[in-house]
């Protein structure tokens, strides 16, 4: 009796490999693992190998390992310029983004007519491919046809074309030459970096603002503090974790970006005034074919990105724990 009963149930359901969570786990992790290994791991290891070798496009054999490449890269003033630009562009643009994102988010969480439309326009840059958005800026900052210059001319800040004896207030010229003068070119690069990071940061800060309970806001009102104290002592501390996330994303995107510089200035005006690590590595490693120097240049991003990654992991862990 007993045996027939057992065999009956066995016939009714035979466990297959689909019920084995170990096999399923491995199967489902394989795509991600393959992706990470092939597209992140392998290039990363190769970058390190290249950086400590003398490979070029003409001589790609990994046969000699040396630290000379690093010496050469470090002594190159163009590299030094690119490295300091990287920090300058990132710090200035992200500082501006944090301030502006807070202001924008505060405004956009209020109720007003046409809020939807304003939100849409502010978020639009984020939906635009960076390269296309930057080409738009390239036209806006054109040396001859810039609409910004046109506006300045009509406001009397620049000289009108063909008008004699007039003195421009901003510049004694008919055009600003945004991308032609070192200072203005750097300003333009930073401006575009701000423009492209602002939407995402604003959305993140808005999410943070709406997560603060309305009761807390009411309590602040009843407790009778002014808006500055409210912002400094209540809003900002409660926003801090999420601001950190916005900042870290901003740092990663700006620090590793080459599109903006490449499209706007190609690193110019000469000599490589607006060059950044990514664009310099591309010019050196791909365009000039010096793979080892390109790889060594790129590796200088690693410490910063590693630091950011560690902070991110800590934030993620903390929010998991609490």
């Amino acid at each position: 009796m007993d045996t027939t009963l057992i065999s009956h149930t066995e016939e009714a359901y035979r466990p297959s490999w689909r019920d084995n969570s170990r096999i399923l786990a491995v199967l489902m992790l394989i795509p991600a693992a393959v992706y990470v290994i092939l597209l992140v791991g392998v290039p990363f290891v190769m970058a390190i190998l290249f950086a400590f070798s003398d490979v070029t496009v003409g001589d790609p054999a990994l046969d000699r390992f040396t630290t000379d490449t690093f010496q050469r890269v470090l002594n190159d003033p163009n590299f030094q310029r690119a490295l300091s630009n990287n920090f300058l562009f990132t710090i200035v643009s992200q500082a501006a983004v944090l301030v502006l994102a807070n202001i924008l988010a505060a405004a956009l969480t209020r109720n007003f007519r046409g809020k939807w439309l304003v939100r849409f326009f502010i978020l639009l840059p984020w939906a635009t491919p960076i390269a296309i958005g930057t080409i738009g800026w390239l036209w806006m900052l054109d040396s001859v046809y810039s609409p910004i210059d046109w506006t300045f001319r009509n406001l009397g800040l620049l000289k009108q074309v063909g008008v004699m004896g007039q003195v421009g207030i901003l510049k004694n010229s008919t055009n600003m030459y945004w991308l032609g003068e070192p200072g203005l070119a750097m300003f333009s690069v930073i401006l575009v970096q701000i423009w492209r990071m602002l939407p995402m940061s604003t959305v993140i800060v808005m999410a943070g603002l709406t997560s603060i309970s309305p009761d807390i806001r009411d309590a602040v009102q009843v407790d009778g503090v002014g808006w500055w104290r409210e912002w400094r002592e209540v809003t900002l501390p409660l926003l801090r974790p999420i601001l950190m996330v916005a900042l870290l994303f901003g740092i990663i995107f700006t620090f590793t970006d080459m599109t903006v510089v490449y499209v706007l200035t190609r690193g110019g005006p000469p000599p490589n005034t607006t060059q950044v690590l990514a664009s310099w590595a591309y010019i050196k490693g791909i365009q000039s074919g010096n793979l080892s120097e390109g790889a060594a240049t790129v590796l200088f991003m690693l410490p910063v990105l590693l630091g950011v990654a560690l902070v991110m992991l800590r934030i993620a862990r903390r929010s998991e724990v609490s």
Binding site: D218, A219, Q221, V222, G224, V225, G226, P237, L238
Partner: protein, 352 residues
């Protein structure tokens, strides 16, 4: 301390009139409870008094001064929120000190006042903790301390006990009432819990549909409810309502008792009570069933104290008695309280 007065207070949210002409006067040091179901406008009324919401119409006076256009901080009110709304990133000390800092007091002064408030609510040992390290009861005390510390003219309490578990709530109710007496601060307390309202309020305003249905002492509301809404909102279980001709008879569950134990009734009204279910609750028994000897057959509840050990079983009909002086009368159409109506029950049905 101050008298709070609202005159014709109204609040419109879009098409909805949340508050529809509320006139209240809260006496100096009085504990007034706004009682009503959720969405009745009681919290909106409180928020308008606090200054968190602007009235659509009507005036608010605090200590004789019209405060309609004053921001909350200028009204000298303190509010305790249902969620307590403690600042999660601040220590208990800083939470309590926060309203004082806004007043630009000296550090010593602030410390002295925080310690006084903390001592009052027995949370002196928690001052360095963060809110998330506190229990619900402790958080509630911190919220109260933060409200007290500025020595406001008026306390506004928005369901401050509803996040506590039942056991703690009874204790907190008693404590809260004691603190209020001790401080003598005019207090407006919003709740949907009639037990809290009856237990704590000097007076209770029953609110429904944005209007005050009845305002009076807990005893008045219970003994002589102004309409059927008040009658059925108070008491647990609430008043039984039986329709008869053009009026509605009301009597509390504890006022309908077996004839054997209700012999001292002045003017007994006998009812045939067909019991369908018996609930034993320890201190009392709830009998659910139908009376049909007066008016229309109606489901009612009788609450019998445990002192009465009479054997009562579901499925049987018993002779129950209500003292006529315990009856409330309401108009069938307006649902308003009316003068007692003389009537006789149907003697034919009783012996069935």
């Amino acid at each position: 301390m101050a008298v709070v007065e609202t005159r014709g207070l109204e609040k419109q949210f879009g098409d909805v009139k949340a508050v529809n002409g509320i006139n209240l006067t809260i006496g100096e040091g009085e504990f007034l409870v706004l009682l009503g179901p959720s969405g009745c406008g009681k919290t909106t009324t409180m928020r308008m008094i606090a200054g968190l919401e602007k009235p659509t119409r009507g005036e608010i006076y605090i200590a004789g001064r019209k405060v309609n256009d004053l921001p909350p901080r200028a009204r000298k009110v303190a509010m305790v929120f249902q969620s307590y709304a403690l600042y999660p990133h601040m220590t208990v000390y800083n939470n309590i000190a926060f309203p004082l800092k806004a007043e630009k007091r000296s550090k010593d002064d602030i410390r002295r006042k925080v310690e006084w408030a903390a001592g009052m609510f027995n949370i002196g040992h928690l001052l360095e903790r963060k809110p998330r390290q506190l229990s619900g009861g402790e958080r509630q005390r911190v919220a109260l301390a933060r409200a007290v510390v500025r020595e406001p003219d008026v306390f506004l309490l928005d369901e401050p006990l509803s996040n506590l578990d039942a056991k703690l709530r009874a204790l907190a109710r008693d404590e809260l009432k004691q603190y209020q007496r001790q401080l003598g601060v005019t207090t407006l307390y919003v709740t949907h819990d009639q037990v809290e309202a009856m237990g704590m309020g000097d007076r209770v305003a029953v609110i429904s549909g944005g209007q005050v249905r009845q305002l009076g002492t807990p005893q008045e509301l219970y003994r002589t409810p102004a309409d059927t809404f008040v009658a059925t909102f108070l008491g647990s279980p609430p008043m039984n309502l039986v329709e008869k001709d053009t009026c509605i008879l009301g009597f509390h569950p504890e006022h309908i008792l077996p004839a054997e134990v209700h012999s001292h009734a002045h003017d007994p009204l006998h009812l045939a009570f067909r019991v369908t279910r018996v609930e034993y609750l320890g201190s009392e028994r709830f009998l659910y069933g139908v009376v049909d000897s007066v008016g229309d057959p109606t489901r009612i509840v009788s609450a019998i104290p445990s002192l009465v050990t009479l054997n009562i079983e579901a499925g049987n009909t018993y002779d129950f008695v209500v003292d006529r002086q315990d009856l409330s009368f309401f108009d069938k159409t307006t649902k308003q309280r009316i003068a007692p109506v003389a009537f006789d029950h149907d003697p034919a049905r009783i012996g069935e």
